[in-house]
């Protein structure tokens, strides 16, 4: 449906909505422990991951423009599809201790609620199904990232 078109639900949308409603209504039973498809990456000696549905794209890091006077957890900004995206150092943002460092080579662009941010990665390890247990990489909650006051644009 295009903006400006009078509101009239299509059959497709109704079908999608019905399917989603059914799936959501039984979500707890359907995935009791389960696995999840994650993009795993390393940064600051930590193995981290984002859900594949939040990952917009993974790109080789080119020019990073440093942010003058910017916070420590933002390494700079990059241009993705003619749009400006901030490059986030997840371990620094989460206050995780650094265990070894290497050059950042990859940016994982994640999106949520119409916003985008790029997660700095030393290496994109793999995209695979992970069992959600203690051995899984540390999962980055993308919704929580954007909700955090440090990334929401609200003054602390």
């Amino acid at each position: 449906m295009h903006p400006g078109q009078p509101l009239k639900r299509t059959r497709d949308i109704e079908r999608i909505l019905a399917e989603r409603a059914r799936a959501l209504a039984v979500v707890e039973e359907a995935v009791p422990t389960g696995t999840r498809t994650l993009a795993a990456f390393t940064m600051g000696g930590h193995e981290l991951a984002v859900p594949i549905e939040a990952l917009s794209r993974a790109i080789d890091l080119g020019v990073v423009t440093e942010i003058p006077g910017g916070p420590a957890h933002l390494l700079g900004v990059i241009v993705v599809d003619n749009r400006l995206v901030s490059l986030l150092d997840v371990p620094a943002f989460l206050g995780l201790p650094a265990h070894g460092v290497a050059d950042v080579n990859t940016a994982l662009v994640v999106q949520h609620g119409g916003r985008q941010i790029a997660l700095a990665a030393e290496r994109l390890q793999r995209i695979a199904d992970f069992a959600l247990d203690a051995a899984a990489p540390r999962l980055v909650d993308v919704a929580a990232l954007f909700a955090d006051a440090r990334l929401s644009g609200r003054r602390g």
Partner: protein, 696 residues
């Protein structure tokens, strides 16, 4: 209905259609944040127009979906049905809005009741209120999904331009064929000459004439193309423009509400409503202007009986004057109220330690304090404005737009807040400068002149840096300070951009002038919105991103006295110089060492580190080994060879960590050698502490 209000309602109807469509799509994709963003806009717009039934419906829609947004409840089929029914009801209300009838009102009431039946009374979504803080009211807007309305005439103009461009393309194709023929002729003549045949002068002259004709045609076409670029740019610019009179209705409503709540009397006079301005600028200005108008009533206008007692009309006058000068929009909001007691502001600032006891502030500097976050002379919280006049919100908005704000006041006669912002924010001419390899831009409209000087001509009196320009001291903001880089010294050439920000001037000192460029401006992402000194980001045609500086913020920083206390504190801290060509590593090390209580400076390579070490005193250096220009081993050797830095501890920090690498580090004079792969913040801090202890 008032014709102006009706026009706004019709615009709202169009927006509502788009919002309802967007919410439906977002629901189908389970993009719950987008659902809320759209619903919030719907609620705000409906409320501001007094369409209470639609505002209430949007409010209850948000309330019903809030548990889903928080992850506390699934989106059940019942809830989804009720949500979709609410969207249908809002859609059904649209014909009634257009016809100014009650059509669809009962559907809205039913849908509202259905949502409430699902949620009960536990509503915790903030209701729309005229006193809702501006900063929290607007969620981030994704520019990629925004839309603008375009008149058919403007679309037609674009289509005609496209037709002309098609014709131009045909001509260029024809010229390409002509060029191919000319190449063929040259080839034949060349072969003839190569084979010893005589080339006829007449053939050469004919070729020359042909090429001259082609050149003339190409020059003409290039000019035609340029005129189309200019015309298209102008058409696109006007597509984003809306009349300033669109502000009249919400400002009038805000004034009426404020009067009602305070018991005061005031009338709003708007001058310049026909000025056209960028829709984004209008949206950015709307919130701050509402705030200024409310504040004028709440803090400026006296009660009717007081006004009469001092000989003023009982009904105050609040004026909003809008005018355009070249590509700058000036908005002045004035009132004829009591004005601001400047001396009281000074006393309050001293009492709160915002200025030193002996520091002299002139009136402009004092009034500027009112624009600081949280500063207020008000002793009580009012329902309307909260504690404080909230002018920091206004300054933030002006800065985001690349503009400035100022205020003048006279006791007993009232106050005037002046905003100056670019008329359009999508594209602007800018001056691009460079400092330590990083590029920045300043909007051309803010730059008065460019001056070349030497670093020695910048005077630092310990509190400010100034440059004597036309026998007047000009406050200087050094870009090197923004980058935490050492200032240029001695005879080094310095470029000073003299910029105007409202009533103030500032000299922006940098290394190099790159030139004037067309800037395609992009708003800052929300996570960067709190940076005061940048107003946006520009993408150069090359794809390079450069930060656009906010002259107003730089002027403030340049005018502010550097506190002596900070210098004293810094003197007690241990100072560490970090040198690494990777911004990741610099950022990580800075973060780690600052958290451990060190004062940190950074350099991007050994050359920059040597410059810093020559200018400042450090207690220790942490350096990478592999770096451009001067590497870590060379840096260590050169530090050791200077008497001033011979005993300065140097920690090499590298991913090269073989025994040979470590030995090379020791041979160069490194005090310690740590591996990046085995980096541990605690270990680094321990090593640094131990080295500093040994040195002491």
């Amino acid at each position: 209905m008032d014709p102006a209000l009706r026009q706004v309602v019709l615009i709202f109807v169009e927006e509502l259609r788009e919002q309802l469509a967007a919410i439906t799509q977002a629901l189908s994709a389970m993009e719950i944040e987008e659902v809320f963003r759209q619903a919030h806009s719907w609620k705000g717009s409906a409320s501001s127009l007094g369409l209470d039934d639609l505002a209430t419906l949007a409010h209850d829609f948000e309330s019903a979906l809030t548990p889903v947004r928080r992850g506390a409840a699934p989106l059940t089929p019942e809830l989804l049905d009720a949500a979709l029914a609410a969207l249908d009801a809002a859609s059904a209300r649209i014909p009634g809005l257009i016809a100014e009838s009650d059509e669809g009102a009962s559907e809205v009431a039913s849908a509202t009741a259905a949502l409430r039946a699902l949620t009960g009374e536990q509503v915790d979504v903030a209701p729309v209120s005229s006193s809702e803080p501006v900063r929290e009211a607007e969620p981030a807007v994704d520019p990629a999904t925004e839309s603008v309305r375009v008149t058919v005439a403007r679309l037609t103009a674009l289509e005609r331009g496209l037709d002309d461009l098609r014709g131009l393309r045909s001509r260029l194709e024809s010229q390409a064929e002509g060029a191919a023929g000319a190449v063929h002729t040259v080839d034949q003549l060349w072969r003839a000459a190569r084979d010893g045949h005589r080339v006829e002068p007449g053939a050469l002259f004919a070729l020359l004439s042909r090429l001259r004709g082609m050149r003339r045609a190409l020059v003409d076409d290039a000019e035609t193309l340029q005129s189309h670029v200019v015309a298209t740019d102008e058409t696109l610019r006007t597509m984003r423009m809306v009349p300033a009179s669109n502000l009249g209705e919400p400002l009038g409503r805000a004034l009426r509400d404020a009067c009602k709540k305070t018991g005061k009397e005031a009338r709003l006079v708007i001058d310049g409503g026909d000025v056209q301005l960028d829709r984004h600028v209008l949206e950015e200005l709307k919130g701050p202007l509402l705030h200024i108008v409310r504040n004028a009533v709440d803090h400026g206008v006296e009660a009717p009986e007081v006004r009469e007692a001092i000989g003023k009309p009982a009904r105050a006058r609040v004026t909003v004057a809008i005018r355009q000068e070249l590509r700058t929009l000036h908005v002045e909001v004035g009132d004829d109220g009591r004005g601001v007691d400047v001396e009281a502001v000074r006393e309050k600032a001293r009492a709160r330690g915002l200025v030193a006891g002996d520091e002299e502030l002139d009136e402009a500097q004092t009034i500027d304090l009112l624009f600081r976050s949280g500063f207020s002379t008000a002793d009580e919280v009012t329902e309307l404005s909260g504690r404080g006049v909230g002018l920091d919100v206004v300054r933030d908005a002006a800065t985001r737009l690349g503009g400035s704000v100022s205020m003048t006041t006279a006791i007993g006669r009232g106050s005037t807040v002046r905003l100056a912002v670019p008329l359009t924010i999508a594209a602007a001419e800018g001056i691009v400068v460079e400092e330590r390899g990083r590029r920045f831009a300043l909007p051309l409209a803010q730059v008065e002149r460019v001056v070349r000087a030497t670093a020695a001509e910048l005077r630092d009196d310990g509190a400010h840096v100034v440059f004597d320009l036309d026998d007047e001291p000009l406050p200087i903001a050094r870009l090197s300070a923004l980058l935490d880089a050492p200032p240029l010294a001695g005879k080094s050439a310095v470029v000073i951009l003299v910029a105007r920000a409202g009533e103030r001037r500032v000299g922006v000192a940098c290394e190099r002038l790159v030139g004037q460029r067309e800037l395609l401006l992009r708003p800052l992402p929300p996570e960067l919105a709190t940076l005061d000194h940048v107003s946006g980001v520009a993408l150069l045609p090359s794809g390079e991103a450069i930060f656009v500086l906010a002259a107003a913020a730089l002027a403030r920083q340049a005018a502010q006295r550097r506190p002596a206390a900070a210098t004293a504190t810094a003197a007690r801290e241990r100072s560490v110089l970090i040198c690494d060509d990777s911004i990741t590593i610099r950022s990580l090390l800075r973060h780690s060492l600052e958290a451990a209580g060190f004062r940190v400076r950074t350099a991007a390579d050994g050359e920059e580190a040597l410059q810093l070490a020559a200018l400042e005193r450090f207690d220790l250096v942490v350096a990478d080994v592999r770096m451009p220009r001067v590497d870590g081993l060379q840096l260590t050797t050169r530090l050791r060879s200077s008497p001033r830095t011979a005993r300065l501890p140097v920690v090499l920090f590298s991913s090269l960590a073989s025994s040979q690498d470590r030995e090379a580090g020791r041979a160069a004079g490194a005090s310690a050698y740590l591996s990046k792969r085995e980096f541990d913040r605690g270990e680094l801090v321990d090593v640094i502490a131990q080295l500093l202890k040994e040195r002491a």
